[in-house]
């Protein structure tokens, strides 16, 4: 069996003393796209923040490339190849698009590689190149999301975690963002965890699915059974 690149065992996390996820096991193998579904309050964001190190886990472990990274400083996680795109456009609104992208490469020690990543991002999202000097806060929701994803790719991550990239976007833009996520896997050789509520658009790009409900896992497996409407209703 292939060794997972990212794995959680019995992960418990929350806010203050209140638990939001109760002992979650998650595994992501190299090159895979794992879709994490669930309603509001299911614990999806808490799970991602705990994996990335923004929220200290209360119990359980997180392993990345076989190393224990439980509760580790996000700065080290980013430097070692994990990227996180938080919910609601992870950008610096008062800086220009170019400044945002360059900051995305903050942990990249090689300026040559940073330039290459910038070219790749511009290639994937040409609008970012066209509007490189524009203040990012003036972008539309879809453009901000492209910029947020572009920033996350600027240090060439091995694992990309996206927290509800479709939230607040018009349906036509959701399709474009999902296409770009599928493209990332091919272009950047990254393994992806994507948290979503938009099943229609996200299910086709998933290799495997995990459904959360009230902080626990109610389904983990292939995406096919979830195309069945009745099955979905059962999980949700």
């Amino acid at each position: 069996m292939t060794q997972p690149i990212l794995e959680t065992r019995g992960l418990v996390a929350g806010y203050g003393k209140k638990q939001a996820i109760h002992g979650i096991d998650l595994s992501l193998t190299k090159g895979e796209t794992l879709l994490v579904l669930g309603h509001n309050g299911a614990g999806k964001t808490t799970l991602m923040r705990a994996i990335f190190g923004l929220n200290a886990p209360m119990a359980g472990t997180v392993h990345y490339a076989t190393r224990d990274i439980t509760g580790r400083n996000p700065a080290i996680n980013v430097a070692e190849g994990i990227a996180f795109v938080p919910q609601g456009h992870g950008i610096f609104p008062s800086l220009t698009v170019r400044d945002n992208l360059e900051l995305g490469a903050f942990v990249e020690p090689s300026s040559e590689r940073a330039r290459k990543h910038l070219e790749d991002v511009y290639d994937m999202f040409p609008i970012l190149k066209d509007r490189a000097g524009q203040v990012a806060g003036t972008f539309s929701g879809g453009q901000k999301q492209m910029l947020a994803i572009g920033m996350a790719l600027m240090h060439g991550p091995s694992v990309l975690i996206l927290d509800e990239p479709s939230i607040g976007l018009a349906p036509n833009l959701v399709g474009r963002v999902m296409e770009s996520i599928a493209e990332i896997k091919a272009r950047f050789d990254a393994s992806i965890v994507i948290v979503e509520q938009n099943i229609k658009y996200s299910l086709p790009i998933a290799d495997r699915v995990m459904v959360l409900k009230t902080g626990g896992v109610v389904y983990a497996g292939d995406p096919e059974p979830l195309h069945d409407h009745a099955k979905l209703i059962e999980f949700f």
Partner: protein
């Protein structure tokens, strides 16, 4: 007309002083969101250190300034690492560091009295008077303006062109996003406390040269820095500069029509008007 020009010149000179205080205070506040009132007694410490080195010990003024900058930077960094950092780690709400800062202010002010005595300390330096048409000013006034310009340009270049300068701008914009892209926010906080406090040592030495150092001089310094930041807009260092100059000019030009005994109240009036009419300040960052 001659009086107006003189008041205008005085306003620009005082504005440079306030803008410099605003830059140091604003750099710390905008980046860490900590209302560091202990900035005041650190200014006092810096002024007394310069007096100790250049007045009491008789070493050149440049050595006194360097000592003041070093002591201020160490005290600023020490305040963050020993006090505010512990509160941040415990997830304290914003009011707690504010109260802790007031406590630290009292402790440091008393410490100045214990270490240096409570009397006013002065330093004799060249303070020759110069004339530009009907306007007069002293050498110290020139130093005040020049030191502001040099520090503002150097700080601007540091923020725009260096890796940690850009990290400071990122953290000012959104501290959590700064962590998300891999910026070590602890390191950035230490840098801004050191840098902001070091900057404050320069106006501290200017006060020492102009009026002498006193144990309570820090209150005026932190208050004017705070007013410059609030008037200019939290999060914007350009705003802190504009706020400092606005307060300096209004305070000085106000004397054209207002009796001098009211001068001290003018900065309060500017602060209250700004809070009521434009609470986001002159150059508030456009947040979505």
């Amino acid at each position: 007309m001659d009086l107006f020009l003189q008041l205008l010149a005085n306003g620009l000179i005082n504005g440079s002083h306030y803008a410099l205080l605003g830059l140091g205070f604003g750099l710390i506040f905008s980046t860490t969101r900590i209302v560091h009132f202990a900035y005041g007694p650190i200014v006092t410490f810096a002024a007394y250190t310069a007096w100790l080195i250049s007045g009491s010990m008789g070493l050149p003024l440049i050595v006194g300034i360097a000592g003041a900058v070093l002591v201020a930077a160490l005290l600023g960094t020490g305040s963050y690492l020993t006090l505010y950092r512990a509160l941040e780690r415990n997830g304290a709400p914003p009011l707690i560091p504010l109260i802790a800062s007031l406590g630290l202010t009292i402790v440091l002010e008393n410490l100045v009295g214990v270490l240096f005595g409570t009397g006013v300390r002065t330093l004799d330096v060249d303070s020759s008077v110069h004339f530009l048409g009907p306007v007069f000013f002293t050498s110290i006034h020139v130093w005040q303006v020049v030191s502001f310009v040099v520090i503002a340009v150097a700080l601007g270049a540091f923020l725009r062109r260096t890796r940690y300068g850009r990290a400071i701008l990122a953290m000012t914009d959104d501290p959590e996003m700064a962590r998300v892209i891999g910026i070590d926010t602890l390191k950035v906080s230490i840098i801004v406390f050191a840098l902001g406090s070091a900057i404050s040592a320069v106006p501290a030495v200017m006060v020492l040269l102009k009026d002498g150092a006193s144990t309570h001089m820090g209150f005026a310094a932190v208050f004017m820095g705070f007013v410059a930041v609030i008037v200019g807009g939290v999060g914007s260092l350009r705003g802190a500069i504009a706020g400092g100059y606005l307060v300096g000019l209004v305070e000085s030009l106000g004397l054209w029509q207002i009796p001098t005994e009211w001068q001290g109240s003018i900065s309060f009036v500017v602060l209250f008007l700004m809070i009521m009419l434009r609470p986001q300040g002159l150059f508030s960052m456009a947040r979505k």
